[in-house]
Symmetry: C2
Subunit: 206 residues, 2 copies
């Protein structure tokens, strides 16, 4: 509070604190004063940087979305078409499941859901910025595996959508929308099941 004055990294500190507080209390319930206190910053500084509460919220969400995109893309990128498809899919499935079940990912999705009514553009932002790109990347990879002769896929986009569905949807139930930590064992099971079903449906006949 008294230390660290000046024009240094206040902005990032504010963004971090904002997401923490918004995730904990929800957008409406969270007060700018709380964000300021959490960031160790004067309220005025927040208004200097972001103008108003809503802009601060948007900026925090956008930052988190970029973060999530990077981690998801990294996971997808590890899906090499030259490896055994069962092994490769299991590995990427596990990585994607970890991304999906990450505490911050849950918080981001919760905030999006909650503020959907009042800020619909936010959802488009996150979708264009993250979700769609991950899906596209996954579809590309699956197409290459199909081309390599290991999968029988007609529409890679649909296949990617379904792989994602089999992987993530079960976690909505099992983690109670992110309020319960899914034990590693269960995470592995779901991934296993998803890959198994996906391969049964899409594996090329020998």
């Amino acid at each position: 509070m008294t230390v660290n004055r000046g024009r240094i990294d206040k902005r990032q500190a504010i963004l971090d604190a904002a997401f923490t507080v918004f995730a904990r209390d929800g957008y409406r319930q969270a007060s700018v004063d709380t964000v300021a206190a959490t960031a160790g910053v004067a309220k005025h500084t927040i208004y200097n940087h972001f103008g108003d509460k809503e802009s601060l919220f948007r900026a925090a969400v956008a930052a988190l979305a970029d973060d999530a995109l990077a981690r998801n893309l990294a996971a997808v990128a590890s899906l090499r078409p030259d490896r055994d498809p069962a092994e490769a899919l299991t590995e990427v499935g596990r990585k994607l499941a970890e991304c999906y079940c990450d505490e911050k990912s849950w918080a981001l999705r919760r905030l999006l859901h909650a503020e959907l009514a009042s800020m619909p553009e936010l959802q488009d932002l996150v979708r264009e910025r993250a979700t769609d790109k991950v899906n596209d990347a996954l579809a590309d990879r699956l197409a290459r595996i199909a081309l390599a002769g290991h999968l029988r896929i007609t529409d890679p986009a649909v296949a990617a959508e379904q792989f994602g569905a089999l992987l993530t949807a079960p976690f909505d139930t099992r983690s109670r929308l992110g309020t319960r930590k899914v034990p590693a064992k269960e995470l592995a099971e779901v991934t296993q099941n998803a890959v198994q079903t996906f391969l049964r449906a899409y594996r090329a006949e020998p």
Copy 2:
């Protein structure tokens, strides 16, 4: 406002109005005064019936959950084990998809997501009261189809979970969490894809 005094169906009118207003504005943003006005009822009447805003919200959510459960169970019940599995699954899939994409269902899920942080028990309530029962019923039906020799299923619960995942998860994206109406054609496509993939994975060899 001036008509319809007395002790008649105020309660139901309040519940209906409450859900409408909460769904439109969100729990925090919605004011009890607005609910009262929408229901055509004095604010005091609401407090007489429900005590406080939170209890009103719970009651409204519970009522909606019961409603949703009934419609979902009806859909699952139409999955007869004696019919051709592809046809039967497509039909039940379409019905379930319609339930899932219903305006009120979306509103209910949005409210749950939004208030998850402040009222975690609410989610348990809905899950025990609706989601779990639908999943169980679906697992039961799938088990019977498997017994009839049409499906090769080891764990009916997992199969039901995956059928649900393939069916519903794509709609989260396509309807932008319920803010866009999914055209009937697309709804049919997704259902078709889900059933096809599910059958490829689980159909018994002839």
